[in-house]
């Protein structure tokens, strides 16, 4: 299967950078377009607007650094990287973005939570693998 439009989920974690290495390799091999998507999650049911604004600021800073690092990695490999940032629910937003832009491969890093956490809160990897309308590669 030849992939022409690859989306990588960038959350700044070590796992997501491992996945980015893989996504860059695939983009080089297939001559595909490579994009990253980062989703800022704001706290649900906040008590004050300030709580939301500060959470968003913190996420902006974190993703700013991560995007710069990702662009440097792609540049070294001779790949043009397009970065996108949204606010919202991680799984829902990424799935919508995949549909909207017609990506044919989603590459994400594995994020290990405890079994209890995954059971209670659901894992992002599982959610994306189940709902994304394209092939999904989870890199461990």
């Amino acid at each position: 299967m030849v992939h022409k439009k690859i989306l990588h989920g960038l959350d700044g974690s070590k796992g997501s950078f491992n996945a980015l290495e893989e996504a860059i390799e695939l983009a080089k091999r297939y001559g595909a377009e490579l994009h990253t998507v980062s989703v800022e999650e704001v706290p649900h049911y906040p008590g004050t607007v300030g709580e939301v604004i500060e959470a968003k600021h913190a996420a902006n800073g974190k993703f700013g650094q991560a995007m710069q690092q990702a662009k440097d990695m792609a540049k070294q490999a001779g790949i043009d990287l397009h970065c996108h940032v949204f606010t919202g629910h991680e799984v829902k937003t990424i799935v919508e973005f995949v549909k909207e832009k017609g990506f044919d491969l989603l590459v994400i890093g594995f994020m290990g939570h405890s079994a209890l956490y995954d059971r209670l809160m659901g894992s992002t990897c599982q959610g994306l693998a189940r709902l994304a309308p394209c092939a999904v590669l989870v890199v461990k």
């Binding site: 999650e41 008590g47 004050t48 607007v49 397009h82 970065c83 996108h84 949204f86 606010t87």
Partner: protein
Amino acid sequence: MLESPWLIAALWIGLALLASMISIRVGISVALIEIIVGVVAGNAIPWVGSLFSTQAKLETTPWINFLASFGAILLTFLAGAEIEPDVLRKHWKPSLAIGFVSFLAPFLGVMAAAYYLLHWSAQASMIAGVALSTTSVAVVYAVMLETGLNKRDIGKLILASCFVTDLGTVLALGVMFANYNWWLALFLGVSAVIMPFAPRLTQRFLRRYEGQVSEPEIKLLLLMLFVLGGLAAAANSEAVLPAYILGLVVAGVLRHHKETVYHIRVAVFALLTPFYFLKAGALISANAIAQGALVILLLLLVKVAAKFVGVYPTAKLFKMDNRVSMYTTLLMSTGLTFGTISAMFGLNHFDAQGHSLINSDQYSALVVVVIASAVVPTLIAQKWFQPQHELLEENGNGA
């Protein structure tokens, strides 16, 4: 029973730390988690104590009560200061209409239900009306950010309407139970002098002192809050009333000084609001929730139904389609901070006979309804009535 204030403080801050960690892990606001941790600690500590035949409880001391009240006042001030005056000006007609009915309909509906169906006292019914008339600007704002609607006119209109509703709530709280005496006259007189000058004075302090480590500009704001709050309290009114109005008055100035607002937020979230939200939760009785489940359900239904009666037709009147009108109505049915502040006011204030305006069971029911109203209408709105929108990028170099 703990006697050392340091150990009592350690227990409360330990709970606040736990709440912060849980909040970050699960992505739910620290305010809500602090309330839940407060409920658990407030009910579990006496239960554990009873197993060892000792009387243990989550201690509330005068200084904890002060820090909690101080937290509520600053939360209200920040809520007022977070408004965008230009948005309110641009959408003043529909936001005033929607915000006003969003306050009035549930206020009257819940008050009537509490008085006639639950046979609460007149004063307890009024507190119920005020506590459940609120709308959570913060919950609505978070939803708007997630959907990108905060950048569109409809989102700005809904947010402006929420501010009007909250203004109705603090006015009701400040006016309904006040003693109409000389203290009230003095409070109104001093407010009339301070409020018009507050923006200019604050601006002057910010220009001259912003960036100084001793933060004179924040101390000026605190001075105004304490003077006005003290006079309001002396008149048996509520200190959150002048705090919200002062916030509204200086909002236009503070929006250009984000660093100062950030410093206030850090102090508030780290030191004050944990005491407020933990206390709000600790005062909830688990028994009262179990025994009052039907009361809680009834009050929640009446609150949401009254919001529908008021907000939905008003939204239609301003040419919103069915889906957007439903979405607006559901989001304006949310509540959290101002609802808990109103319920706490009822528990801490006394009538002429020395009885608190609401009892512990009524307080528990009201706060649980407030929390449920933060969650249930939001979920329904996002699941079934979210207006169509495209994903809006924050930044990046998206192609």
